[in-house]
Amino acid sequence: MLDRIEFLISEAFTALRRNGLMTFAAVTTAAASLFLLGGLGYVYYRVSGFTANVSSKFEIDVFMRMDLPRPQALDAAARIKALPGVRNVTLLPKEQAWKEWQEKLNLSPEGIDNPLPDKLKVMLNDPTKADALASSIQLMPEVYQPRGVEYSKDAQRLIDLMMSLVRWLGLACGGVLFLTAGILIHNAIRLTVIARRREIRIMQLVGASYSTIWIPFVIEGMIQGMIGGFLAAFLLWAAQGGIQRFIEGITSQIAFPPFPLWTIVGLLSATGAIYGFFCSAFAVREPLRQVIGALR
């Protein structure tokens, strides 16, 4: 069994050596696409963590009508809390708000009526839903009109934009490169099949099983994808280190978590190997049939 595995793997490495230029092209393209996909995936993961942290502090202020009785304000708070995307709602009674204002501005309350309404602090699970929530809360009859809802639209939009940008950039660039890498692996395997048609013919003549003929090509594709993933992980590590040093040179406000190098190496290599497997398995079918057919 070990002997057979050794034969199949040695056949794959012979093909890799013989088809050097195409192997180089396939490996480097796989590395570039996995670098972009992996890099953007990593950025997305970090930004998601960051936004989750921000969203815990992200809130919408809802001012109630001036004449609204307290029970109705509490009822409105309960209904807002039931809305999707809302984590918590707390009521800031107008008396408490007025007291805080006085302390903050060092005012004397004598002779001045409380000008503030009851206020609800709405905390969100997902800051990207702030726009939709604000609109629906504004329509409630208990809410001050016409502008009883306030929140930091700019911050929310910035986060929203950042997430969309990372998502779409990753999908578009990474996707195109991933596809290119697949086509290159596919072509490399097809060329290998043609380059090795004499060996295939001999195997056919002596009655080698189809798996003996097929497996080395698939191993070759997997190795190409795996090396690509391995290189991509180290490229990513180098790029992250460079960016980290650059940002730390500008500001010390941002703390960088340690880069999980070996997790990334494992993930990208495995992704590359699986991708290489499917590309080569697909690539080998038709030319193998043609080469075998040419025997006849």
């Binding site: 034969f7 002596v206 009655g207 080698a208 189809y210 006849r296």
Partner: protein
């Protein structure tokens, strides 16, 4: 040549091979071959002799009729079973099909490894096989350093790795001069004397006539003649060849793949 009484070792029963509407390979031929026979198939290019052999290796499937080998209908075999079928026979192609970057012994060892032999097993058997085909002295040579006859010997050696009881050669002397053609025929004869059934497609009339074995002539996919010479084994006793292409006693007995005993002959 040890021929058994079983005439149904190989049976072609009204076999037709049609490659397309206009191209007919075989036109309903019927034929029986006994175990241990040495049979030549002759005819012009396109006469159907290669199609006939390819039916046995299942490189071609008949359009109608039946092809039986040892009672097994080869047309019924699934694609998955074809490698196992070919492991029971030896196939010698006209163009040698040797790997140019591998030495003689590596060419044979490669084929052995491809059918599952271990490295150690291949190393042990290769020397034996090369001796059988009288090319052991050139084991370390590359194919381009060999004559055509020597290259064909290597190809025959490779066909013997599975110890086949049936050897199929398609134009094995097609690329050889008369001297080397006789060398190859002498080798095939020795294998046949030791019990291997040998089927050869050839258009080399001179070689075929001098061998004096059963010869089936095909034309346009039909059998035109089927000559069964009254041949005694003595006809095939080692005669070898001389420079003019006459048999002259070159090779010794072939021992390792002797099928006589297993036939109980």
């Amino acid at each position: 040549m040890i021929v058994t009484n079983d005439p149904n070792y190989i049976v072609f029963d009204k076999v037709e091979v049609r490659y397309s509407e206009l191209v007919l390979g075989l036109a309903g031929i019927s034929l029986n071959i006994s175990r241990g026979e040495f049979v030549f198939f002759v005819g012009q290019t396109g006469s159907g002799k290669s199609s006939l052999l390819k039916l046995l290796t299942r490189e071609v499937r008949q359009t109608s009729g039946r092809v039986l080998w040892r009672g097994q209908d080869l047309g019924e075999l699934s694609d998955r079973d074809i490698p196992a079928l070919r492991r029971q026979m030896g196939i010698v192609p006209q163009d040698f099909a040797l790997l140019p970057r591998k030495r003689v012994w590596e060419n044979v060892a490669y084929a052995m490894r491809a059918v599952g032999a271990s490295r150690r097993e291949a190393r042990r058997k290769v020397a034996q096989i090369l001796e059988v085909v009288h090319i052991g002295h050139r084991a370390d040579a590359f194919p381009h350093e060999l004559s055509g006859g020597e290259q064909q010997r290597v190809a025959i050696g490779r066909a013997l790795i599975n110890h086949p009881e049936l050897l199929i050669a398609d134009e094995p002397t097609g690329n050889l001069d008369p001297h080397h053609s006789w060398e190859i025929m002498d080798l095939l004869r020795q294998l046949n004397e030791n019990g291997t059934t040998v089927l050869v497609a050839s258009h080399d009339v001179m070689v075929v006539e001098r061998m004096g074995t059963r010869t089936i002539t095909l034309d346009s996919g039909k059998i035109v003649t089927d000559s069964h010479p009254e041949v005694s084994p003595g006809v095939f006793q080692s005669q070898g060849t001389n420079e003019e292409g006459n048999l002259s006693g070159a090779a010794g007995p072939v021992e390792p793949f002797d099928h006589q005993e297993e036939k109980g002959a």
